[in-house]
């Protein structure tokens, strides 16, 4: 590693083997980021070879595309019950309404397309909350150890015992029905899983030699956490995040189905809620039931497959299997 920059125009020193590219000033930060970029590219290359991961990614991108470009893919007015563009109630799939209509004549296709926005948004937002809390607690517990760790881990274990749906139901019914509440509820009921994984990772990274060395050199806790622990724990947290989004989307659909969702927005879960309340199941209105359910299955599958693929690549223990 060169410590002195070579000014352009100077000949490189003869004694060393010629460098592959022209030498330039390299600060430690540059080196670190170059290394991270290489690691990232390496992971990306391994990911490309993982069939499950690529399929998952493909489906995911498709749904993200649908969510973003919803207005281009469907006419929003066919979702509005009082709009003249809606059809007759309970129309089976036909040329005009590809997925048929619901009990109010709304286009199931349009609702499914626009539903992706809500479901994905809630899933992602709730996961971010869950990950932030979980990662924070996991890092603090793992890094500081001692009684703090015991208390936090005991708390985590207790939370894991509570049946999550019962808890979520109670919270949601008490706090009210809105998108923000749902996101909050899912977020604060899913952090325990993340916290445990993060703590385990922090524990394994904490004892590595370079961390000890940095500490011997007088690095502060903050520095250690941000510059050493976080970058090493980060990738695994990321893989876990993907898996958590899948669970969050399933959670949202369940809560919405039970009537705890936002009454003003249409998600796949609320579609199923309407469908059930309108007796779609017992009267055989399959075109109303299949699209939102399949959408949930596909999106959750996609996230899960990506998450598994990443986990396989990043988690050394799994690679040996």
């Amino acid at each position: 590693m060169r410590t002195e920059p070579i000014l352009p125009g100077e000949a490189p020193p003869p004694a060393e083997t010629p460098p592959a590219r022209p030498p330039r000033a390299v600060s430690p930060r540059r080196i670190v980021w170059a290394r991270r970029r290489r690691a990232f590219l390496r992971v990306a290359k391994m990911y490309r070879r993982n069939a499950m991961g690529m399929w998952g990614l493909g489906i995911l991108l498709l749904f993200i595309f649908v969510a973003i470009f919803a207005p281009l893919l469907a006419d929003r007015s066919t979702m509005d019950p009082i709009s003249p563009t809606t059809g007759a109630p309970f129309e089976p799939p036909n040329a005009h309404f590809w997925f048929g209509t619901d009990n109010l004549g709304r286009s199931v296709y349009t609702m499914t397309i626009y539903g992706s926005r809500i479901s994905l948004t809630v899933g992602l937002a709730a996961t971010i909350i869950s990950m932030v809390i979980g990662a924070l607690l996991g890092i603090v517990a793992g890094y500081y150890g001692g009684w703090l760790e015991s208390v936090l881990m005991r708390l985590t274990d207790w939370f894991l015992v509570l049946p999550w749906l019962a808890l979520a139901i109670v919270l949601a019914s008490v706090l009210g029905r809105s998108l923000a509440i749902i996101i909050l509820v899912i977020g604060i009921t899913s952090w325990p899983g993340t916290a445990r994984i993060v703590r385990a990772q922090v524990l394994s990274v904490k004892t590595r030699p370079y961390v000890e060395r940095a500490r011997a050199l007088g690095a502060s806790d903050w520095h250690l956490i941000v510059h050493h622990i976080l970058p090493n724990v980060g990738p695994l947290i990321f893989a876990n995040t993907i898996l958590t989004v899948a669970i969050a989307i399933l959670s949202e659909s369940t809560l919405a189905f039970l009537g705890l969702g936002d009454p003003l927005s249409i998600s796949w879960g609320t579609m199923l809620e309407f469908a059930f309340n309108a007796g779609a199941a017992t009267t055989g209105k399959w075109w109303w039931l299949l699209p939102p359910g399949l959408a949930i299955v596909l999106v959750v599958l996609a996230f899960t497959m990506c998450g598994f693929a990443l986990d396989e690549i990043l988690n050394p223990k799994l690679r040996e299997r």
């Binding site: 749906l165 019962a166 109670v170 008490v174 189905f257 469908a275 059930f276 017992t282 596909l298 599958l301």
Partner: protein, 327 residues
């Protein structure tokens, strides 16, 4: 051995205390005045009666006193009166709905675990075969599928009848209302109503058990003592059932028990879909009616059930793993 047992029991008790405390705090957060709720819509609704009701319910006392009363009452299994079912105590309301849930969730969980473990064993033993890939694919799909959606599809197919599917099962409920069956005919009637929700609950979760067992089995298959058994001339089936499975069951058992909490979540939604009058169905009713007294007790019951299930798992683990017995 005794140390292990005592430790686990103590832990369970501590967790229960936490749940009780959490439960208490949670329901003091709720908006609205339960006293007013109880009296609203009746002729007696006026400020004095509301205040009197409040005093009767003990809601005007300071919080620590309320907590002490709450703890005492809980251990006496007195949960107060239901807000909605006028004049009936929470214990009554819940008691009436307990058996259907025990019946449905109990049997389906056992079936789910048994089937799941068997599939997992076969899947791991015959790794890489079409059976393995098939069951893995099925597991993944079942995991991604909301169980209530699956319930609705099954309901539509076999109770409502759609397309090629025959409508051979009732659309919901516990028994045929008004038929007045007794004894054996009653049992058959109930079972008939149970077929669909039982199937849905069993299928929805067996994938996870299968996956846990499969992975555990694969790990154990790589252990040295398996080669020793083969070298001794033990037949393959014996290697599997006498050597591999008893060892693979150990981590599987604990992980399986840990996932029981999710079974209760499924119970809530599936009972709702099939109108099965159990605790899950009651939960949904209580949400809609804002019957917090019932909800609070239900939450407690669900949590306690998970804690007890985990304790049972820990105790039975002792019999599975001799290394723990020595501890």
């Amino acid at each position: 051995m005794r140390g292990y047992l005592l430790g686990k029991v103590a832990q369970a008790f501590l967790t229960l205390l936490f749940v009780l405390t959490f439960n208490f705090i949670l329901f003091r957060v709720m908006p609205g005045d339960p006293a007013a709720l109880l009296l609203r819509g009746t002729a007696a609704y006026n400020p004095q009666n509301v205040a009197a009701e409040k005093a009767r319910l003990g809601l005007d006392k300071p919080l620590p006193v309320q907590f002490a009363t709450y703890m005492r009452d809980t251990f006496r299994l007195e949960f107060g009166d239901s807000f909605v079912y006028q004049g009936r105590s929470v214990s009554e309301v819940i008691g009436a709905k307990m058996w259907p849930t025990v019946l449905l969730v109990g049997t389906s969980t056992i079936a789910s675990i048994l089937l799941g473990l068997l599939i997992g064993i076969w899947s791991g033993w015959r790794r890489g075969t079409w059976f393995d890939y098939g069951s893995l694919g099925f597991t993944l799909f079942a995991y991604a599928m909301p169980e209530f959606w699956f319930g609705m599809l099954v309901l539509m197919a076999f109770a409502g009848g759609v397309g090629p599917f025959p409508a051979i099962f009732p659309t919901g409920g516990y028994e045929t209302v008004g038929a007045g069956f007794t004894g054996f005919r009653h049992a058959i009637d109930v079972l008939n109503h149970m077929v669909l929700p039982f199937t849905v609950l069993t299928v929805a979760y067996l994938g996870e058990y299968a996956l846990i067992m499969r992975n555990s089995l694969i790990d154990v298959m790589a252990d040295d003592f398996v080669m020793t058994a083969r070298a001794k001339g033990v037949r393959e089936e014996q290697v599997l059932w006498r050597h591999v499975v008893p060892n693979a069951l150990l981590p599987t058992w604990t992980l399986t028990m840990l996932s029981l909490g999710f079974v209760f979540g499924g119970a809530i939604t599936i009972e709702y879909v099939f109108s099965w009058p159990g605790l899950g169905w009651l939960t949904v009713q209580a949400i809609e009616a804002k019957d917090y007294a019932v909800l609070q007790a239900l939450f407690l019951i669900f949590s306690a059930a998970v804690i007890i299930a985990n304790l049972i798992a820990d105790i039975t683990y002792m019999y599975l793993d001799p290394r723990v017995r020595a501890a």
